[in-house]
């Protein structure tokens, strides 16, 4: 484990920021008297606390590591993924929040027992625990694997440190500690990202204005924000964002306890609704801003040398193999392309004749294509050197920029941003996992105990899930893009759970047993569809699993209810 790759000032900023947040959160949220205090923060939260908490829960470290890398390689199109979110916010404000508040539920699944029956409540709670338990592990693992690779820190120690810091305040202070710390974490995150953005602009050559930087990005296809095509192959289009994105957001914010618990802590229906509206107003610009940082990092590397492959573990693999000379030749070739690119970019920035600008633009695009091709060849070599190696280096682009470009002190701050984001999401997840286990499984099956007994049980369950999350993080293995991994797990389960909730809210005709059977059949069906896509039997991008899963569970439940009612009608007639 190396400690010398950060300066003293970085360590002070990093440790100081994280310790302050943990200690302040633990102190401010001490002394919960009962489960209402512990699981709903005493139902005292105001709208801005709820809004920040909801945003901090969704924005994990993956968001800040992967998203700029995504923009670096593929441009701004990923922002379309969030277009459905405001629609989902309106539906939740209109339908979900009034019902949850009216019934004074602790968890979203508790409502399903009121509407259907105990077995449907238990099934959805268990589906939530499986997917969120795994996701909590990934939330810790994602930044840990990246930081361990670039800083040569021990992965297991890093998993344990992140996990233990979160456990300290989440177990002791519950929901209130989670929301108190999330306010500070959001301040650190937004402050750090804004400073990083200004620094990148400042590091561009003097004659490259922001406008010119956007021009360079546009010339290289990074400003293709909107895609109105109906191409199923394109993962991010306006339509997949609006339809798939709103279903995913509706399931995540409306039925995932890690989000539901944030707005259940509101002091009134209005405060909870305003919190979600705040999220709907800020989410798209926030994602746009993070992607823009990635695009500016791309522009920065048009004038400065960048590695052929950003993941140091992949480079190490290939350099220790028989392919080292070939890789070195690719690197040498890239340096030549880079030098040429730099000269052309400066000429493009200074060009005032449109014809000259156009021809330079074409040459720049050509050079960037050559660079992309060299990067692809490097990935092939890495794969040959180590067939198990992860060749997708999107997650390493921004952290490479941070560690190799930013001044001392700011590196510590940006690392604090990443770890704060990891902690804020993990805290909400552990808080929700503990609450669901305590209320939907434990209290429901062992009624009649005292408040302090359930309070103690909630704390123990939160601790247990913290330990499970650390264990999952320690055995997890990286595949493809990390942000996708979390979304895939979500997409497999969310559609089904959302369908059950929509049946509960809007289809009074359908009853509990039919919903329960439909949910079981549907879950198997969605998992089957996912694997058919993996083995290329069908073409169904994972984001559509939310949509399909939601519709099929509703359809199956409706048909089962129809059959039951018909057979009942027939037996009465006969």
């Amino acid at each position: 484990m190396r400690f010398d790759n950060l300066g003293q000032i970085d360590w002070i900023v990093l440790i100081g920021t994280l310790l302050f947040i943990v200690l302040y959160g633990t102190y401010k949220a001490r002394g919960s008297k009962d489960v209402v205090d512990y699981l709903k923060g005493g139902s005292q939260a105001r709208w801005w606390t709820i809004g920040l908490s909801v945003m901090a829960t969704q924005a994990s470290a993956i968001t800040f590591l992967s998203t700029p890398g995504q923009a670096f390689h593929d441009g701004m199109g990923f922002v379309q993924f969030y277009f459905g979110l405001p629609i989902a916010m309106v539906v939740i404000c209109l339908v979900f929040i009034p019902i949850y508040h009216k019934l004074k539920v602790f968890t979203a699944y508790e409502y399903l027992e009121t509407r259907f029956d105990l077995k449907t409540r238990t099934l959805t709670a268990i589906l939530f625990l499986i997917q969120r338990g795994l996701a909590a592990g990934i939330t810790i693992f994602a930044p840990a694997i990246i930081l361990s690779a670039v800083l040569e820190w021990n992965l297991i120690y890093l998993n344990i440190i992140i996990g233990v810091l979160v456990i300290i305040y989440t177990v002791s202070g519950g929901t209130k500690a989670v929301s108190v710390t999330q306010k500070q974490q959001m301040a650190v995150i937004m402050g750090g990202m804004f400073i990083a953005f200004l620094i990148i602009l400042n590091y561009l050559p003097l004659d490259i204005s922001f406008d010119k930087a956007l021009d360079i990005a546009g010339a290289n296809g990074k400003m293709e924000i909107l895609d109105f095509s109906f191409d199923f192959e394109n993962r991010y289009t306006v339509w997949s964002g609006l339809i798939g994105g709103s279903f995913l957001a509706l399931s995540y914010f409306g039925t995932d306890q890690s989000q539901v618990q944030r707005y259940l802590s509101g002091r009134s229906v209005r405060q909870s609704q305003m919190g979600l509206i705040m999220n709907g107003v800020l989410k798209v610009p926030l994602q746009f801003f993070i992607l823009l940082i990635g695009v500016m990092v791309f522009v920065f590397y048009q004038f400065n040398p960048s590695p052929l492959h950003f993941n140091p573990a992949g480079v190490k693999d290939v350099m220790n193999s028989e392919y080292a000379a070939e890789y070195q030749a690719l690197e040498d070739h890239k340096r030549l392309v880079e030098d040429d690119l730099r000269v052309k970019q400066i000429a493009f920035a200074r060009a005032d004749d449109p014809t000259q600008e156009k021809s330079l633009k074409e040459e720049i695009v050509q050079l960037n294509r050559s660079e992309d091709s060299l990067r692809s060849q490097s990935r092939v070599l890495i794969k040959k050197a180590n067939p198990n190696a992860e060749t997708n280096d999107k997650d390493y682009v921004f952290i490479h920029f941070i560690l190799n470009t930013l001044p001392r002190g700011l590196i510590g701050l940006l690392l604090a941003v990443i770890l704060s984001a990891a902690m804020s999401s993990t805290a909400s997840e552990l808080n929700a996992l503990g609450s669901t286990t305590a209320m939907d499984l434990y209290q429901r099956n062992t009624p009649g105990q005292t408040q302090s007994h359930y309070l103690k049980a909630s704390r123990w369950f939160t601790l247990l899930w913290g330990v499970i999350a650390i264990c999952v993080a320690s055995v997890a293995d990286l595949f493809d893009n990390l942000i996708q991994l979390v979304n895939i797990i979500g997409s497999i389960f969310y559609g089904n759970i959302l369908g059950v909730f929509l049946l509960a809210f809007f289809f009074r005709y359908v009853k509990g047993t039919q919903v329960f059977i439909a949910a079981l059949i549907n879950q198997a069906l969605v998992i089957g569809l996912f694997f058919l896509d993996v083995y290329e039997v069908i073409n169904l991008p994972y984001l559509w699993l939310n949509f399909v899963g939601c519709l099929t569970v509703m359809l199956i439940a409706y048909i089962l209810q129809l059959i039951k009612n018909n057979s009942k009608g027939n037996s009465v007639t006969s």
Partner: protein, 35 residues
Amino acid sequence: MEEKQKFTWKWSYTLLLLLNVIYVILFYLLMKSYI
């Protein structure tokens, strides 16, 4: 839960959706300017 739930539309929902439509229009204009 058997009683019928009433859903109340608020002006803030309209504003939220409108604001997001404006974001998309701005993205479109931005995209057109730099491609």
